[in-house]
């Protein structure tokens, strides 16, 4: 009798132990975000943070690898079957978390919905798609407005696939989105937390985390504190001045990688009454800026100096075409040659958008004054400055562009803007233009042969060295804080937080 009681006791005890151990095996990832105030809707300009959350739920047809090359995701393969027609073969056997199947019809619905609804933030990525045809259940054709060599990278950004039920239940998805991705939202309280759980029926690799708890902590010091106190495992947006502190603390470390956001100068070279209309003065500006020193003094050494506006690892970068070297003597000579008469130039830059942007702007102002230019620094909040630049333009401005994995759209959008049909030109707030640039760009946009495109990129970079319609400064750093419980495969080409790139440390 006693023997049986003992056996029973042991069994109960071992059950208890196993269940406790089982519960303790739940892998939970805690993330501190820089902000919230979003909704899972593609119809309002949200923050990069929030968009990143969405990418884990609504997957795109393709995804960038570490070098910015698109690789298959929801699409298995693709082919350019005619100058204005691409055939995409979709992966089979995938369903959305509400049971609806992922197929060509869902793709067609998503793309059209994103293109046609007003206020869609993805409309610009999809602007060159004219129509989407369902060929069979797992094949779609994209018809583009003329040859579009960059369709696939555009899809990597702008093709989140939604279930067709979204067309009828339009408010459900703001808090409980439905997608094909590895995680689902189980609880979203704005400004408090977003809790994800793994999608048990995910088609791809088994998600490594059972639960992911994302908390917005807007204050940078408080985020660092949360990491140091062990309350979070992953911090988005660690303040540069906290890097040493975090590295010195036990149990945590900082990781810095260059991003795909280039910070550059805009120069109004077509403005008749501005000194910047003379190419010698623009060259002098480039010669006057020491980007290494800039990075060291204003960015704690974390910016990656750039000599072209495109990433070194991606398409479009022309090896051998460097920047104009830092040479204040030459700069002064150029100013004298141009007969610069001391006209004031206003320099617009933000102080709350990019890392240490206010300091960077002031350092640049000093470098320019050092060679004899008369520069008035105009440091503003982005709330004021961006609309101002978009509607009234700028003479000399500093701004960032973060979509370099689409080099054609980036080149067009950053540099050669005209508000024409078919042109992006979205960030050319200084209305810069130069002989032959527009012509080369028009060719670039529809050139399907990458070798020919390389020649165009090289020519554009080379021309910029002389005409200087933009000055590339540096690539912004991505700074994350990590606890020793996790490992992060951060890549420059993906600023968003992908949960499948955060792994438990063995």
């Amino acid at each position: 009798m006693r023997c049986r009681l003992v056996v029973l006791g042991v069994m109960v005890l071992s059950l208890v132990v196993v269940s406790i151990a089982g519960a303790a095996q739940e892998r939970v990832l805690r993330i501190a975000l820089t902000g919230d105030d979003g909704a899972f809707t593609p119809f309002a300009a949200g923050t990069t943070t929030f968009e990143g959350m969405e990418w884990n739920i609504n997957e795109r047809l393709v995804r960038f690898d570490g070098n910015g090359v698109p690789e298959p995701l929801l699409a298995e393969s693709w082919e350019n079957v005619a100058p204005d027609r691409w055939e995409i073969n979709l992966r089979q056997g995938i369903s959305f978390t509400n049971g609806e199947p992922f197929n060509a019809e869902a793709v067609r619905f998503s793309i059209k919905w994103l293109k046609e609804t007003p206020g869609s933030v993805y409309a610009s990525w999809l602007a060159q798609i004219v129509d989407v045809e369902v060929v069979d259940e797992y094949t779609v054709h994209f018809i583009t407005d003329g040859p579009n060599p960059e369709l696939i990278p555009q899809l990597a950004w702008g093709s989140p696939i939604y279930p067709p039920v979204y067309s009828t239940e339009s408010t459900v998805y703001t808090t409980k989105p439905i997608g094909t991705g590895p995680y689902v939202v189980v609880d979203y309280q704005r400004d408090v937390h977003i809790i994800f759980e793994k999608n048990d029926s995910y088609w791809g690799a088994t998600p490594e985390w059972d639960r992911i708890i994302c908390r917005p902590i807007p204050d940078a010091a408080a985020r660092t504190a949360a990491l140091l106190s062990g309350e979070v495992d992953f911090v988005e947006g660690l303040a540069p001045q906290d890097i040493d502190l975090v590295n010195a603390a036990p149990g945590a470390r900082a990781k810095v990688i260059p991003s795909q956001r280039i910070i550059r100068l805009l120069l109004a070279n077509t403005r008749e009454d501005s000194p910047l209309s003379d190419y010698r003065i623009r060259q002098a500006i480039w010669h006057a800026i020491d980007t290494e020193a800039l990075s060291e003094y204003a960015l704690e050494g974390l910016g990656t100096p750039a000599d072209q506006i495109l990433m070194t690892t991606g398409e479009g970068y022309a090896p051998g075409i460097g920047r104009l070297p830092y040479d204040p003597t030459r700069a002064r000579a150029l100013l004298a040659e141009a007969g610069y008469d001391g006209t004031l130039i206003r320099f617009d830059f933000t102080n709350d958008r990019y890392a240490n942007d206010g300091d960077v702007g002031l350092v640049i102002t000093q470098m320019l004054e050092d060679i004899g230019l008369n520069v008035e620094p105009n440091s503003q909040s982005r709330t004021v400055l961006f609309p101002q630049m978009q509607t009234k333009g700028t003479e000399l401005g500093m701004i960032g562009w973060g979509a370099l994995t689409m080099p054609i759209m980036s080149s067009d959008g950053m540099l050669y803007g005209r508000a024409d049909e078919g042109s992006y030109g979205r960030q050319n707030y200084a209305q810069a233009d130069a002989p032959v640039f527009s012509a080369i760009l028009d060719q670039l946009k529809s050139e399907m042969d990458p070798k020919v495109r390389d020649v165009y990129y090289k020519t554009l970079a080379d021309l910029n060295r002389f005409f200087v319609i933009t000055v590339p400064l540096y690539f912004e750093p991505i700074i994350r804080g990590l606890s020793d419980n996790i490992v992060w495969d951060g890549e420059a080409t993906m600023e968003h937080i992908f949960f499948d790139m955060i792994h438990p440390a063995r």
């Binding site: 909704a39 300009a45 949360a226 709330t383």
Partner: protein, 305 residues
């Protein structure tokens, strides 16, 4: 009393009208909200279409009239970024804000008034000097600095409290204490000064001569008279705390309305900003009304009727 309430309601409406009109006209002079909403990568056509769909091409008085008309029907617009009804968004935040504000006021009153009484009773002794010194410290210490220091000590070093967040009692401790410091100091000084005046007055001397216990005199008579200024401050502080605990909310990641306002301002989410101002105006007026009513209860001489 009915007359008082009615007058106040009318005043509230006038205030809200003026405030909303001022806000409407001023917000658009800061910058163009459409440019921010459309984002950096959008084209001129996209921006124009968006502007048209928001009705921003009409003159200001037309837009304001439209807003006023729907406000009278209880519709205060939709947040540009979160695509939800503005008042609903604010209402979501109210519990968190109220919790913080009420806890802060409760703590401040209890601790502050006690400190003030103690300081007044032991007037001019070291207890009093100590209390005064503490209150000076409390008023001078910047809330954000205190907040970060508290987080550092209690969350990072000692690890006994969470650094930020919302949900349990433990999360409430640090934000409440940080916000209370300045208020404790204010109440302590207020009560102390008022009590000292009362305690040296004739009626107190009479009461003591009559043989009433000192403690009763202090607490039942002198303190009651001192509460009038305290109530005034409570009413003012309530609305102020509610509207402007932005810094504390931001640091502690507290999901209150101050944070909502800050984000809305940064993005020029004007429907949300104006709806928020309407709520705050209502709160200020409401707080003042409650304050006046309480005066009447505490001191029958001040019944305004």
């Amino acid at each position: 009393m009915g007359k008082l309430v009615l007058t106040r309601l009318v005043q509230a409406l006038v205030v809200i009208l003026l405030l909303s009109f001022a806000a409407y006209t001023m917000l658009f002079t800061i910058a163009d909200p459409v440019a921010l909403l459309a984002g950096q990568y959008s084209s001129q056509e996209d921006m124009d279409a968006l502007r048209e769909s928001l009705g921003l091409n009409d003159p200001i008085y037309v837009q304001y009239g439209r807003w006023l008309w729907s406000a009278l029907h209880g519709q205060f617009g939709q947040s540009l970024y979160m695509k939800e009804d503005a008042m609903t968004l604010i209402a979501e935040r109210l519990p968190a804000s109220f919790l913080l504000v009420f806890s802060t006021l409760a703590l401040s009153v209890v601790v502050g008034v006690s400190m003030g009484v103690v300081a007044a009773v032991w007037y001019r002794t070291w207890i009093d000097r100590f209390a005064v010194a503490l209150s000076v410290l409390g008023i001078s210490a910047a809330p954000f600095w205190v907040a970060l220091l508290a987080i550092y000590i209690f969350a990072v070093k000692l690890r006994i409290l969470p650094s930020t967040g919302y949900g349990t009692l433990r999360h409430l401790i640090l934000p409440t204490t940080t916000l209370s410091l300045m208020n404790i100091a204010t109440f302590a000084r207020l009560v102390r000064d008022s009590m000292i005046e009362s305690l040296t007055s004739d009626y107190v001397r009479t009461a003591m001569a009559k043989g009433i216990k000192y403690r009763t005199v202090v607490l039942k008579h002198a303190l009651r008279n001192s509460m009038i200024p305290v109530i005034t401050v409570i009413a003012m502080r309530f609305a102020q705390l509610f509207a402007f605990a932005v810094v504390t909310e931001r640091i502690f990641a507290w999901p209150g309305s101050g944070r909502l306002l800050l984000n809305a301002l940064q993005r020029l989410d004007y429907p949300l900003v104006i709806a928020y101002l309407v709520v705050v105006a209502g709160l200020f007026v409401g707080a003042n009304l409650v304050c006046d009513l309480l005066y009447g209860i505490i001191d029958p001489r001040i019944r305004t009727d």
